[in-house]
């Protein structure tokens, strides 16, 4: 392998990492220290902004939870912060939280949200309904649900209402959630000095602009909670066995400006997978997983451009094998994909490819060729 090819491969790897929002080199730990190894998978806490609340850095978004057993498992693991909302499932989501944690209210931190209405009486009614469903007379964090723009953040009626809820003891701390225009909203909130907590969508696909806005909000004292950490949910079954969920969570938690992440889990297996991330660090393998995941999310399939760099020393016709993925993912035509894989010695070549320690072929567009061939093998074996 020529030094020129190594130089190109490092360049491509760096370019992919830059797309992920950070430079490749110093951000993974190949080896955990003994102290770090002992921490792995045990509850780790961060302070939620200036609230003084100690929340587990991996907490739980309850919205997608399919069964109370998942909440019980999360609690047994030591997770102490739970996010729900008044509107979820017409109130059944809050009711489930209230029922599961009856008797343990003092051991958990509840965050719920209300749809911001122009009429204060509707907002009040919404909060009071939530308290009843949650079987509590206060929530730890009350959020205005889904603000859309910086103007919503500086809305004096909303700020006044949230302060009233605190004065009446219905909420210990208040804030907002946002899905869109998040960087601008966070910057406005940082200036406003009226919010304790902000819940925003934050994951490895987001830009440096959002990262900086998160930092700005955190510096101003706002506790930033990250949702949508999986950038599209649990779709491992579509990714040929790739399971990047822990890597995605580690990426978010690597940012110390984030107080907690609230992945929206559905099953016990998912909450266990997420909770196991606590106390661990982002590794090079995690980084690779995120690159592949990003390729998958962006629908980056080989387009047969013929621009592959390098040649396989074993003669694996990677172009043909990548075409199988294109048929499967792009054309949704598994028959064509299988025809490719049953041609000649394709299956033998796949085996050779998988046994190879490093790939001599690189893609100009950053597709991880060996990982894609592995995905093909898993799909059709």
């Amino acid at each position: 392998m020529s030094s020129k090819k190594i130089g190109r491969r490092k360049f491509i790897k760096g370019a992919s990492s830059a797309v992920l929002g950070l430079a490749a080199a110093p951000f993974w730990n190949a080896n955990l220290s003994f102290a770090d190894a002992r921490k792995a998978g045990t509850p780790q806490y961060r302070t939620l902004g200036e609230t003084g609340l100690k929340v587990t850095e991996v907490s739980m978004g309850v919205m997608n939870c399919s069964d109370p057993s998942v909440l019980h498992r999360a609690f047994d693991f030591g997770i102490n912060f739970y996010d729900t909302a008044n509107s979820y499932m017409a109130g059944r989501n809050e009711e489930m939280v209230g029922k599961v944690f009856r008797g343990n209210r003092d051991k958990i931190i509840i965050q719920t949200k209300f749809r911001v209405n122009a009429a204060a009486k509707e907002n009040r009614q919404s909060v009071e309904t939530s308290l009843r469903r949650l079987q509590t007379d206060y929530v730890d964090v009350l959020l205005g649900h889904s603000l859309k723009n910086p103007g919503d953040v500086s809305n004096p009626a909303l700020i006044e209402f949230l302060q009233t809820m605190k004065k009446e003891g219905k909420a210990r701390f208040t804030g907002f959630s946002a899905h869109t225009d998040m960087a601008a909203i966070l910057r406005e909130a940082a200036k406003s000095n009226s919010y304790d907590v902000a819940l925003v969508s934050y994951n490895f696909t987001h830009s440096n602009e959002l990262k900086e806005a998160v930092a700005s909000a955190a510096t101003s004292g706002i506790g930033v909670v990250a949702m949508k950490t999986q950038a599209g949910g649990y779709k491992a079954k579509d990714m040929g066995g790739l399971s990047p969920h822990q890597a995605a969570l580690k990426y978010v938690l690597r940012d110390r400006n984030v107080s907690a992440a609230v992945p929206g889990v559905t099953t016990i297996e998912q909450i266990e997978e997420c909770a196991a991330v606590m106390g661990t660090a982002l590794s090079e393998q995690d980084f690779d997983a995120l690159r592949q995941y990003q390729s998958h999310l962006q629908g980056r399939i080989c387009t047969m451009c013929g621009g592959c760099i390098g040649e396989c020393p074993h003669g694996v016709a990677h172009g043909d094998l990548l075409r199988a993925i294109m048929y499967h993912d792009g054309y949704k035509n598994d028959k064509l994909a299988e025809e490719v894989l049953h041609t000649g010695d394709a299956s033998q070549k796949i085996k050779q490819c998988l046994e190879c320690s490093s790939c001599a072929v690189t893609c100009r567009r950053g597709i991880n060729i060996q990982a894609q061939i592995k995905a093909v093998h898993q799909m059709f074996s």
Binding site: G61, N64, C65, D67, A118, A119, H145, S177, H179
Partner: protein, 310 residues
């Protein structure tokens, strides 16, 4: 071509187009939104349509739930009361792709049985009306409106839906005796909170728990569940049974050496979060009962369930 020929061709084209809509059950979703509403309520703005990519802008994190259930598209509209500008009725009509998924979403929202006789099933509360018909799930939420207004508006929408697909057949498998009304739910994944159970149904039953206090016998209703997990093949169901057994071995307990009334693959044990469990296998299904206190009740109910399963 004569005028008469043109009219004949035009009629043929109109008839073809109409019949296509009737037989395919395909109706533009915006056409399901009534332009008028009862009791002084009126449509405020033009209805707004949402896709899988934009749904979260309308219903935030709840969009994930709809996407899990196969969401295809939706339309939203707001009605205002002419007598009170602060009051409104929010209407959302969701195309869930088929009646199973529409039922699934409906079952997650419905709180208890309070049927309104609309669609395949419905719920009418003080401020909520929900129903599903065919592939559509419809939700009406009011700030302040009478249930009768919500019901009439829901009926109007129902009459516009031409999809007459039947309700999921699995609903009929659940024994009626002891069934808590409105408790049958469908999950597209993660039944009972377990990845390995994949998709299926769960229903709640009431078990009478007689206890003696101060020389008096007090009977209290206690809930337990029947569940039905659906796989593509019998082998997949057996594989899932194996994983369930491992789960109980690792985290709960497995009862060994007791009679297996439901076949050799039956699993009996205690789940750490569900309580006592009996899990049986039939064809491409796993079915079972969890959370019962009296073994006899759990076994009888499961036996009845298994007999009714086709």
């Amino acid at each position: 071509m004569t005028g008469r020929h043109a009219i004949i061709i035009l009629c043929f084209l109109v008839a073809s187009f109409s019949s296509q809509n009737v037989f395919s059950g395909t109706t533009p979703i915006k056409s399901l939104v009534p332009k008028t509403a009862p009791d002084g309520w009126a449509l405020r703005d033009a209805p707004e349509a949402f896709t899988g990519e934009t749904l979260f802008e309308h219903i935030d994190g709840q969009a994930d739930l709809f996407l899990q259930y196969g969401f295809k598209g939706s339309v939203s509209a707001v009605y205002r009361n002419a007598n009170s500008s602060e009051d409104k009725i929010d209407l959302d009509i969701f195309d869930m792709g088929n009646s199973l998924q529409a039922f699934g979403v409906f079952s997650r929202f419905r709180q208890e049985e309070s049927p309104a006789g609309i669609g395949l099933d419905s719920y009418l509360g003080d401020r909520y009306a929900l129903f599903y018909k065919g592939k559509y799930f419809v939700m009406l939420q009011a700030t302040d409106a009478s249930p009768s207004t919500l019901k009439r508006l829901a009926q109007d929408i129902e009459s516009r839906i031409s999809d007459n697909s039947a309700a999921p057949k699995e609903i009929g498998y659940f024994p009626k005796s002891g069934l808590k009304p409105g408790s049958i739910e469908y999950f597209p994944d993660g039944l009972l909170g377990h990845q390995f159970l994949k998709r299926g149904f769960k229903a709640s039953y009431t078990e009478n728990d007689a206890t003696k206090t101060d020389n008096k016998t007090v009977s209290e209703g206690r809930d337990f569940h029947l569940f039905l997990s659906i796989f593509e093949t019998s082998q997949q169901a057996l594989n899932a049974m194996k994983l369930f057994r491992e789960h109980l071995s690792n985290k709960g307990t497995v009862a060994e050496g007791i009679p297996m009334p439901f076949g050799p693959d039956t699993l009996v044990g205690v789940d750490p979060y569900q309580g006592k469990a009996i899990v049986a296998h039939k064809g491409h299904y796993l079915l079972g009962t969890v959370g019962f206190k009296q073994d006899k009740d759990g076994e009888q109910r499961l036996a009845e369930f298994m007999r009714g399963l086709k």
